[in-house]
């Protein structure tokens, strides 16, 4: 009984944010899905009536390489970001409060400058006449004709750079709650520092890892600015295609169909995982 009342209280507190999410997220997302089934009119708007034409075009096999590239770039970004963020979050949670504040500031400080400006900064860094290329060539770490720009590697690098704070912040939040005495216990039981980290710290912050993965992966999937500026002609992601449908083709229903397909591709596996976890947890508690 007490638990039930407690839960209803929790619901009440969550109500404002739920309402916010509903009005500004769920309804627009539903509108996107609805628009995918509408015909386009000639002025870039949405006409009346219903059609499956937009969905039909998604069956074109030409989409597959783009979808594949979008998925692997996002997955690689996620893996690298989480791998880099784990030790950072670990150290941030261990250092004293002053240094911790400073490190947090360092993580957040890139957001003070405009996202596009930072991308352009990367563009000039990676440019064949840019600083990075010249330094690498002069150290004989790269061939004379090295091209750091306009390829998938550049896209990946800048994506990682952009998304890293979104991996560090949830992991830091989880690491801050982690009981570091557990590492002493692991060491005491014969684990070296690395194994203690892998066997005790990593499972201990697994919720933070899950948040970081979702955060980085989902944000990466919709990315289109980075491939457009630092990628080559063959590095386009699904986001670029959606952008082209909206701005170049002025075909909103087509763009909506693509967006809805991407949304389904992300949401369905996540729902399956969430359902499986809930089911699994209930079973474990019984």
């Amino acid at each position: 009984m007490r638990g039930a009342r407690h839960r209803s209280g929790e619901w009440l507190i969550t109500l404002p944010s739920l309402a916010w999410l509903g009005v500004f997220f769920v309804i627009p997302a539903a509108l996107v899905v609805v628009t995918a089934f509408r015909p386009a009119d000639l002025h870039g708007g949405v006409a009346a009536g219903w059609t499956l034409e937009n969905i039909e075009t998604l069956r074109d096999p030409a989409w597959l390489p783009i979808l594949w590239r979008t998925l692997w770039l996002s997955a690689a970004t996620t893996v690298v970001c989480v791998a880099l963020a784990l030790p950072v979050a670990f150290q941030m949670a261990r250092v004293g409060p002053r240094l911790r504040q400073f490190l947090l500031l360092l993580v957040v400080v890139p957001f003070l400058s405009n996202f596009l400006i930072r991308i352009f900064a990367w563009k000039s860094l990676l440019h064949p006449e840019g600083v990075l290329t010249k330094v690498l060539v002069s150290l004989h770490l790269a061939p004379e004709d090295a091209l750091l720009l306009n390829n998938a590697g550049a896209v990946l690098l800048v994506m990682i750079y952009t998304q890293l704070p979104f991996a560090i912040l949830p992991l830091y939040a989880a690491a801050e709650k982690f009981d570091f005495h557990l590492l002493d216990a692991a060491r005491d039981l014969g684990a070296g520092p690395c194994r203690a980290f892998m066997k005790v710290f990593v499972p201990g912050v697994r919720r933070g890892i899950l948040s970081a993965v979702v955060m980085v992966f989902v944000c990466s999937l919709g990315q289109y600015v980075i491939p457009q500026f630092v990628g080559g002609a063959s590095d386009e992601m699904l986001g670029n295609k959606i952008q082209q449908r909206v701005f170049a083709d002025r075909n909103l229903p087509q763009a909506s169909a693509l967006a809805a397909a991407l949304m389904a591709a992300v949401l369905l596996p996540m729902l399956v995982v969430a359902a499986w976890q809930r089911f699994g947890r209930k079973e474990g508690a019984a």
Binding site: H181, L182, D184, A186, D188, L189, G190
Partner: protein, 368 residues
Amino acid sequence: MDDFLVIDRVSKSFGALRAVDGVSLSIRQGEAFSLLGPSGCGKTTLLRMLAGFETPDSGRILLGGKDVTGLLPEQRPVNTVFQNYALFPHLNVWENVAFGLRMSRRPREEIRSGVDRMLELVRLSEHARKRPAQLSGGQRQRVAIARALVNRPQVLLLDEPLAALDLKLRQHMLVELNAIHEQVGTTFIYVTHDQGEAMSLSDRIAVMNEGRVEQVDEPEALYETPRSGFVATFIGDANFFTGMPVELKHDGYLRVQVEGLGSPLVHGSGFVSSHEPVRIMIRPEKISLTLERPQSGERVNAFRGVVEDSVYFGSHARYHVRAGEHLVIAQLQRSRFSGGGIEPARGAVVWMSFHPDEGRVVRLEGAA
């Protein structure tokens, strides 16, 4: 094997604070040993140095004749039961206990039998699949002990093992810990601030204060013949009187002139010099209260006082008796057969008496 674990002049400072100051101890194999002292006395730092979490600034730690001072925690044949148990929340009981064996990459069959046997020892076999969060405090404690002992450590360190438990459970775990110690025969080193815990768990106790060892002895010896005022007050209660030694008798007793109490005769051990004041100590329960002057030979010290206050504890009662400038605490068992069976009221004039063997000379300095 008298020198199984040797702590040799070990010191450790944190900034300006000397947490452990030149401590030397030698602990026998299979012994149940306690480091006892108030918080901040350095006992936890000493334990962390034994486990390998801290490195001494100077001094050595020898285990079975081998210098282990520089070894990392994972390299020492020493395991710890942490104060809040530090069980891994993401692993179930069985996996928690198996952790150490997995780390040392033992064969699967050995891990299985080792963990099962250890869970049987601490009577948790039917809880093997539960998570630590689903266990009671006492069960968690037993998991922590099993997780440490399964590695067959040469020394088991227990950091305040009973502090997190409630009174009833604590008394039960006292018995259980003694039973486990008897069964496995491993050297146990307890760290505790609770003198009762230390007395009932250990073969010997090192009383620590301000980074130093005040006295190492068996529990009974610590209680009956404390060498310093600190030890006397930390282990039990005590009355102290300061006086000048006037006569050292040839049978080993010492007569001390105490202002307001006459010149009681006390046990002379610990007495050093006749030109300096000495401090004598008498436990409250060693003092008898009578209405009449006791039939005294020379062997009884008796003096008069006025009862100022009395506190009833059920099993015993305590009296605060004023004798000149001294306020003496006396403790009486509520039994017809002991202590004359009187119940003096406040303001009553009584005789206090104690046998010379019950009076002890303690060090003057370091008194609490």
